[in-house]
């Protein structure tokens, strides 16, 4: 397709989404919920159609030599489709954030001024080869009254086309305006570049995927972006920690699912408890297949630990590797986190009130924990019911984003003829 052709196609779809967004903004909750349930039913009913499309992607992926991990992300099964449908049912059951009056007050001149929660409008989602994102994002955007323009990775094109065809049709039949769920079926990278600068049509872009994708979007977009991304998370074991608790938290934060952004990458240990804590905790980690890269003091206490380099402190391994550093004080731990952290999730294990308070106050991160695993940074775990991603920026949304983060507010003002003096 020519560059102009790509541009025209993307704009045509975005324009349909924008048109849909106007009515979607005040579509009654029960219509949205019925649509979500109908989408779930359709996904289940059309499972063979979706699996057939997915088989083409998987076959092409294998022929292209995609890694086993990528093929696994791409692969759909009956169970996975049922999970996607279940996700939509969960979203249908969540409270509708739209229309909520967040606050309202009366001014001395009698004006009643309030903030009303309203949809963002049209949300662009740029993601990689995970067909489940297609359903999750479409469901959450719809519930929050937004139109969505989806652009998934080319490896999952057939799967995504099949899925969006099924869910968009079900949504429309249930009374959702045509265009509410648009999928960009242009695999050319140029389509992404067009989306990045489509300020007249898109209100927000949310990239979901690896560091390369996020960087491209942040660096080139003129449409406002919600950045999701990297987590170089720390667990700090304070001198006053319950060491059994510390061990459980560290093991969980590192091992429970090492490939995700809220897993811990560096362990900081106060020097006063290093000897009592590190050798045995390290052993338990080793039993779970964890490699340790330690500072000199760590290597003294854990002889099998590899030496940590400057680079290790800054690395998000996403793997069974843990950097370990013994620190002289809480201040040194705070400095380390300030210097190397990515402001995602940081935890202290301590029974000292003042250390806990300082850690919570002074650490600048999306989620700051006392005596709990960093792995809880997740919309579901926080009680949001579902999440569209974890924001690592400070503007608009920080940390796990649920339905409310897919809305904005408008001021509504009720007067009796007031004019400004």
């Amino acid at each position: 397709m020519s560059e102009d052709g790509v541009r025209e196609t993307v704009i045509a779809k975005a324009a349909r989404a924008k048109e849909a967004a106007r009515r979607l903004a005040y579509l009654p909750t029960n219509v949205k919920n019925e649509a979500l349930l109908a989408m779930a039913r359709s996904l289940e009913e059309r499972t063979p159609f979706i699996l057939e499309a997915n088989a083409q992607d998987v076959e092409a992926g294998r022929a292209k030599g995609l890694s086993r991990a990528l093929i696994d992300r791409l692969l759909l099964t009956e169970a996975r489709i049922a999970e996607m449908a279940e996700g939509l049912r969960v979203v249908a059951g969540l409270p509708d954030p739209v229309g909520e009056i967040v606050s309202m007050w009366t001014r001395p001149n009698g004006l009643l001024v309030g903030r009303m929660r309203v949809p963002l409008g049209v949300i662009g989602i740029i993601y990689e080869a995970r067909p489940n994102v297609t359903v999750d994002a479409a469901g959450l955007c719809l519930k929050a009254g937004n139109a969505v323009v989806l652009r998934g990775g080319s490896e999952a094109l057939n799967s995504n086309l099949a899925i969006t065809r099924v869910i968009a049709k079900a949504a429309t039949a249930a009374g959702v305006p045509d265009g509410a769920i648009e999928f960009i079926d242009v695999t050319d990278r140029a389509a992404v570049n067009v989306m990045l600068r489509l300020n007249d049509y898109l209100d927000v872009l949310i990239p979901r995927g690896g560091a390369g994708l996020i960087k491209t979007v942040v660096e080139n977009a003129t449409v406002p972006v919600i950045e999701t991304g990297v987590g170089n998370c720390h667990v700090y074991v304070d001198k006053d920690a319950d060491l059994a608790m510390a061990e459980a938290v560290v093991i969980n934060a590192k091992c429970q699912r090492p490939g995700v952004c809220n897993a811990a990458e560096t362990l900081l240990v106060h020097q006063d408890v290093a000897e009592a804590f590190l050798p045995s905790a390290a052993e338990k980690l080793r039993e779970r297949g964890v490699t340790i890269r330690g500072c000199p003091r760590t290597q003294e206490l854990v002889p099998w630990a590899e030496p940590a380099t400057e680079e290790d402190w800054a690395t998000e391994y996403l793997d069974l590797i843990l950097a370990v550093r013994v620190v002289a004080s809480l201040d040194e731990a705070l400095d380390h986190i300030y210097r190397y952290g990515t402001k995602h999730s940081e935890a202290i294990v301590t029974n000292n009130y003042s250390s806990a308070r300082r850690f919570v106050t002074e650490v600048d991160a999306a989620a700051v924990y006392v005596n709990a695993s960093t792995r809880f940074t997740d919309g579901g775990q926080f009680g949001f019911g579902a999440e569209i991603g974890i924001s690592t920026q400070k503007l608009h949304a920080r940390g796990p984003m649920g339905l409310k983060e897919l809305t904005t507010t408008k001021f509504v003002i009720f007067g009796e003829g007031q004019v400004r003096q």
Copy 2:
């Protein structure tokens, strides 16, 4: 200065601000308030020094042939400096948004999860030749716990340098970390370009100024931007309007201060009341020096009205000009606003419950009014005590931005050793 030199200078200042921001984030409220009061006192005490610097700018501006309006914006007087000082005292008196627990809840596993309000970090403000912005922005950013990197227009360089020297010195003496208020004294436009991409140092950029400046920032920044800007605002006089009220609202919205973004630019009138309303309202507007550009029906009712072109509907005049259109229905008014509005401030005048409700629900704008002038879209008028600007985007902040809009939240999580299953 060479391009590298500009870059180095800007980065050095931004780095100082970032260092300051770390401590500023949890600086006690009383220290911040004392600093604001000290800054106010210093401004007053050093008035002669500031006026001297300002005189240089004004003289240079006159020599360069700046318009009278620009010179007026640039000019400082003893009274204007006193006003700036008073503004700082008002900010000192406002509640500190930092540290507020916005909400907190307990999860089934016993984790206590809350959102704590925290500063954004380092805020870059890019503005034109208004020295009062220097003081306003510095005061608001400081109160919300942010460091600020200011880059004002070159025409006000001497004034801004004098002002920042005075207030930064007073702030530091009161216990605010050095670097909390940084001013970029490089007039080269390259300095702005460096700021736009300083993601490692700046958390947010807020451009304040004309459409050209805003466009440059939005199109070239990789740092997240809060867009402030254009207002093509409408007043719609419904068929069920109180016509005396409608007249007062329209006159106020157009004439009270025509050069600002919340002034009305287009009047829409329902055809059923056009004859009763337009001729007399137009006459009153004419008495106030307003030129009318009308649709054909308007021209029938107001023979002296000029014809409106398609361009008029889309124009933010910022002047005593009003576009007027007679519409057949509320729907036609809503369509007009959807098509030509800039989502800033929109008003309906009506006593019809259903029309009012539809207008509030269906109009997508930062501020939607029933029976009041659009001129109220202002932080002071809404009761925020002060404002840093009016956001016209949907992300993070929409409408007038007070202290809270200069903050973000972080999740704080208190556990007793919880790990994720």
